[in-house]
Amino acid sequence: MEGLNELAFVLGGVNHWITVFLIMAGLYIIVSRSNMIKKLVGLSIFQTSVYLLYVSPGKIIGGTAPIISDDFTVYSNPLPHVLILTAIVVGVATLALGLALVIRINEAYGSIEEDDVYSGEDWN
């Protein structure tokens, strides 16, 4: 029984495990990579974790889309989906802007490696 409980803990929270994994993976990429595009990829992964975090508790197993009908009684919570739609848009906008900046950086510095850009410049 003990083992089963642990299994249930691991499997029951699988969404959250994945969320945590995505957070850590995203942050790790942001911190460890010098390539600016890779950093943005990390940032996107980091943001993606949020989507999962929000959508997970909204889903009710057996529930349907929340359009009121006589045939169904159990509905999923629509709010998280709406929120995450917004968050995705924000994420896309951020990514687009980030990439645009990287292009400009590449044009100005001839490199998208952070080491080159930040160390080769007098910041004072």
Binding site: P57, T86, Y109, E121
Partner: protein
């Protein structure tokens, strides 16, 4: 009309931004932006007046949906206070910045500049006015994304790199915040802040609530640029166009601090976040580090915009210190300093904008002899410096007085000593600029200088005079701040 004000001050800038994007004529866009910003200011001031007069918060149901399901716009004293600040600065920077925008930003981008500016203002006002945790995130991203764009408009290539840096850090902050909100949402099922506060009461000790709180505070600290999460700030301030720097410095971090206060006092409640967690101690240490690290680094900057940016890091430390003092006096000091710092740092950055325009650079060594050629600018700098130091009769003194009194109430003498010591550091780094400007002769081969355009000087001086006026007549800042503190603490105790 009056009861629609909360939506008006958000929707009108948004619509105006779209209109600006369609028109793209510099003069028209500037006029639109100016009218809209001023209207927002009038609207904010009216709402603050209403709240003060009737002692009742204004609540607005967006789309007619009642909270907690729908999004609620809520104006209480604190929100009204910050709204007035943001819209006031936005208006002033528009008047101030037109000339420097013309000079520093490519011609075909002027229309987009005002679009982004309005969007940014809309986002900042939105963060303050919304009573919904997720909506706050959306507005935060609206303001941040437009801010990154505005920074990247700087003519130096370093501006783009700085904007990128800010984008990465800012997005991490916002995402952290939203993760925290998500955790709270998971356990309470609501996003309305007032509702959240109520439903959290029995759940405060659960790991999810604590983790959520940690995420929110760290995320917001990134946005606030609380030491040591301030690394994005100096470059962003230093290389953005002058007008953007003035606006950014005076508003962006302040709004995030507002949101932090909302969470600490309204959502989690004084009784939990301040009294039962080590948050005040942590903030205290970080604030003191911010004050000293910021001031020390400012001492060694050649670029005055960067110097002022580091000084902002230090000043933010003062504001958060007030939170960490955890008593009414300290919190009052912190709220007063939000306003005061916005006014004085705004003025200083405006003056530096004028210097950048005339001298061509903002390097200290290029400013030799500027005192003689640009007396209004440099005397303004002296006055602003006094205020930063906290000379009595300026706003800087008022905030420091409250912070010192707050520290004494807790019996923390050493904080008072440290506060005074930090004032000395301010004296030294402001003194360097003043000495170079007034006592070093301008090299013969250097380009001759003249005073910055009138619109810039006048706006900056209006702010400087406000520094002095508000240093004597504190009924607005301290009056509203004290009432707001009562609301913040009263709601929790």
């Amino acid at each position: 009309m009056l009861d629609q004000l909360p939506a008006i001050i958000i929707a009108v800038p948004l619509i105006a931004a779209a209109v600006c994007a369609l028109i793209r004529n510099e003069t028209v866009c500037w006029l639109i932006a100016l009218v809209v910003a001023f209207a927002s200011f009038v609207g904010s001031a009216t709402m603050l007046g209403q709240v003060q007069k009737y002692g009742e918060d204004i609540s607005y149901k967006l789309g007619g949906w009642a909270p907690p399901v729908g999004i609620e716009y809520k104006v209480d004293l604190l929100a009204g206070y910050v709204l007035v600040l943001v819209s006031l600065i936005a208006t002033a920077v528009l008047i101030y910045g037109r000339q420097s925008v013309k000079l520093e930003i490519k011609k075909n981008l002027h229309g987009w500049y005002y679009t982004m500016y309005l969007l940014c203002m809309c986002g900042l006002l939105g963060i303050v006015i919304t009573g919904d945790a997720f909506n706050a995130f959306v507005f935060m991203e609206i303001s941040s994304l437009s801010m990154y764009t505005l920074i990247a408009l700087g003519k130096d290539r370093r501006a783009v790199a700085a904007a990128y840096q800010y984008l990465v850090m800012g997005t991490i902050g916002a995402t952290m915040y939203i993760i925290g909100v998500g955790l709270l949402f998971t356990i309470t099922g609501t996003l309305n802040m007032a509702d959240l506060a109520m439903r959290l009461v029995p759940l405060l000790d659960t790991p999810a609530a604590i983790a959520g709180m940690a995420f929110i505070i760290v995320g917001l600290s990134l946005k606030i640029a609380l030491f040591p999460l301030h690394l994005w700030l100096p470059n962003a301030y230093a290389f953005a166009p002058s007008a953007v720097t003035s606006f950014l410095a005076a508003t962006a971090t302040k709004v995030s601090i507002y949101l932090l206060m909302r969470y600490l006092y309204t959502v989690f409640g004084f009784g939990f976040s301040i009294e039962r967690t080590p948050i005040p101690e942590v903030i205290m240490v970080l604030s003191l580090l911010a004050i000293f690290a910021g001031s020390f680094t400012a001492l060694f900057q050649e670029n005055i915009k960067r110097m002022l940016a580091y000084s902002s890091v230090a000043q933010i430390g003062y504001i958060t210190l007030g939170i960490a003092l955890a008593n009414a006096t300290g919190l009052t000091g912190s709220l007063v300093h939000i306003f005061n710092h916005a006014v004085m740092k705004g003025a200083l950055f405006m003056l530096v904008g004028g210097i950048a325009m005339q001298v061509g650079t903002v390097r200290l060594s290029d400013m030799a002899g500027a005192g003689k050629a640009m007396p209004l600018t440099m005397f303004g700098f002296v006055l602003g410096g006094f205020s930063m130091i906290g000379v009595p009769g300026t706003v800087g003194f008022v905030s420091k007085w409250y912070l010192a009194m707050g520290a004494l109430e807790n019996g923390w003498w050493w904080i008072v000593a440290l506060l005074m010591l930090s004032s000395l550091l301010v004296l030294v780094y402001m003194g360097r600029v003043i000495e170079v400007a007034f006592f070093r002769e301008r090299p013969v081969d250097a380009i001759p200088l003249k005073e910055a355009p009138k619109s810039m000087i006048v706006t900056a001086w209006v702010f400087l005079l406000a520094c002095v006026y508000l240093g004597f007549d504190t009924s607005f800042t301290v009056g509203v701040a004290e009432q707001a503190v009562n609301v913040l603490l009263g709601g929790a105790q």
